[in-house]
């Protein structure tokens, strides 16, 4: 098992957001988290990534306890988080956006660009442009490509297709599908058709608790998934 979260409680001040959440992710597995807005999906991802310290429970990643560790330490352990808001470093060029991640991953820039091309094929055309000029879909591809540098073992992606047009959703789908088996992923997503196509396992979150764990054919049954939204 790559990631094991057990009995996770998270609170914003006195307001408890997650109640005894337990999830697991195997190596190379693609796990989706679905649920209504405010159910606690993003909080779960951000807590695993080191943004919030858990009030109770454990987070083990690759045999190491990472619960409450700073974000940079979690990232160095081999876990990357792609934020929901698709914010790249807008004032840096696309090349610099790749370079900042390549340097952290100790990769030569040329090799890093080559790897990002695997996810975002048209990236060479934009290298010298400010990243702020990219479309939402292009930004998402850049973020996913950048997160994959340094070969992380686990990618946490928050709502990768939110606000994207149909064509951009398809591009993100292809990018995620290409990484199948190479890297484990935990993806928060509301687009149930995407979940049905890509998920190997699904956790449904309701009011800060795991309401269901779906496997096999159930992950492709949109009416079942919809009942948790």
């Amino acid at each position: 098992m790559l990631l094991s979260v057990k009995g996770l409680d998270v609170a914003y001040g006195r307001a408890k957001v997650l109640h005894g959440v337990s999830v697991r992710v195997d190596r190379g597995e693609r796990v989706f988290v679905v649920g209504r807005n405010g159910a606690g999906k993003t909080t779960l991802l951000k807590t695993i990534a080191g943004f919030f310290a858990p009030a109770a429970g454990t987070i083990e990643f690759d045999g190491r306890n990472i619960g409450g560790k700073p974000a940079e330490e979690v990232a160095r352990a081999g876990l990357r988080y792609v934020f929901q808001d698709k914010r790249v470093f807008t004032r840096l060029t696309v090349r610099e956006n790749i370079e900042i991640a390549a340097h952290a991953a100790r990769l030569p820039l040329a090799s890093a660009i080559e790897r990002v091309v695997g996810v975002f094929p048209s990236v060479p055309r934009f290298l010298d442009n400010p990243a702020g000029g990219l479309s939402g879909g292009q930004r998402q591809l850049l973020l996913i490509g950048r997160a994959l540098l340094g070969e992380p073992q686990l990618l946490l992606i928050d709502e990768p297709t939110e606000g994207l047009s149909g064509g951009a959703v398809e591009e993100v789908f292809v990018a995620l599908d290409r990484s199948k088996g190479k890297v484990a992923m935990v993806i928060v997503e509301q687009n149930l058709s995407l979940v049905g196509k890509l998920a190997e396992r699904v956790y449904a979150v309701k009011e800060g608790r795991i309401a269901a764990e779906l496997n096999g054919a159930a992950v492709r049954d949109e009416s079942t998934l919809e009942s948790y939204l």
Binding site: R80, F89, A102, R146
Partner: protein, 319 residues
């Protein structure tokens, strides 16, 4: 000028930037006076050091005079107690600035925004008090210290032409070094921190170390400028560490354009021209400077250099 040739003009200027800057300062010294322009050159180094913090890393400090003063006093005290070797004085000045930044940095760089600005101001205020009163036995208090330097080979700082040449070569070296730094992955990291520190942390960077390093380099460069100032004036007084003078470097940086080494140099020179010549014609010249700053903030948000670049190139220069 056609749209195609504009970026070329900028690229050509950038290729020969050091030579262009040297010639422009040479002309300025010829038109004005060597002593006055030496002051401009040293102030430009100080603005470049400030821009590393503010323009590159996005941390506005209200206490950068602390480092200028540290360098100036370190230089003067070296001259008084360790002989008048100017090279040693400058080495000690730079080292003292770096050391003070290394000591204060762990407290200051953890903060952002107003907190960062004010904590630096607080340290600057304390240092001013120490220089003026508490350590008056060593610093000379309000009277300050006289700085006597011996010539070292061709380096006779009593000769104003030598002082000017040395300061100019120092500025060119600082520009070259800053450009190397800001063009490197470390520079990209600083600009990433400026835009979104949390995102940088999620890439696996220890941002504290990066910010501390930038703070130390900035402090050391400012102290080097302070050391040069002490040599140029031949004395050091508490005005070298006066917290009220922080506004000068902030104005200069904004006038030139934050986030660009060329902007910092432009701002340094323009500010010095204003503060040297405007008082001859206008009694309350600071008021006009305030209005000028308002115009800049509303009309030329990227400063004079940013405006020039926007006219010459398709994309803002951010070295």
């Amino acid at each position: 000028m056609s749209a195609l040739t504009r970026p070329k003009v900028l690229a050509t200027l950038r290729s020969f930037d050091l030579a262009v800057i040297a010639v422009l300062f040479g002309l300025l010294a010829w038109v004005l006076s060597i002593q006055r322009v030496t002051d401009f050159v040293i102030f430009a180094i100080f603005v470049v050091s400030f821009d590393l913090l503010y323009g590159q890393m996005g941390r506005l400090s209200f206490g950068h005079m602390l480092f200028l003063g540290t360098g100036a006093y370190a230089s003067a005290l070296t001259a008084v107690h360790l002989g008048g070797n100017p090279v040693l004085a400058l080495v000690m000045a730079t080292a003292a600035g770096g050391l003070v930044a290394l000591l204060l940095g762990p407290m200051t760089v953890r903060t952002t925004g107003a907190c960062f600005a004010l904590i630096n101001l607080a340290f600057n205020q304390v240092w001013h008090f120490l220089a003026l009163i508490a350590f008056a036995t060593w610093t000379g208090g309000e009277d300050g210290l006289a700085v006597w330097m011996q010539p070292v080979g061709p380096l006779d700082f009593g000769d104003k032409r030598v002082m000017f040449a040395f300061a100019l070569v120092s500025l060119l070296a600082v520009i070259w070094l800053t450009r190397r730094l800001t063009d490197s992955p470390f520079g990209i990291l600083l600009r990433g921190i400026k835009q979104n520190e949390m995102r940088v942390r999620f890439l696996g960077y220890d941002v504290f170390r990066a910010k501390l390093l930038a703070f130390v380099v900035s402090g050391a460069l400012a102290a080097f400028a302070g050391g040069l100032s002490a040599l140029n004036y031949g004395y050091v007084t508490p005005s070298f560490v006066d917290p009220g003078r922080n506004v000068e470097v902030i104005f200069a940086c904004l006038i030139g354009g934050a986030g660009s080494v060329y902007g910092a140099v432009t701002g340094g020179v323009v500010y010095m021209l204003i503060s040297n010549f405007l008082p001859s014609y206008v009694q309350r010249w600071e008021m006009l400077l305030g209005f000028a700053l308002l115009v800049l903030v509303f009309r030329f948000r990227s400063g004079l250099w940013g405006f020039v670049v926007s006219r010459l190139g398709p994309r803002a220069e951010e070295t």
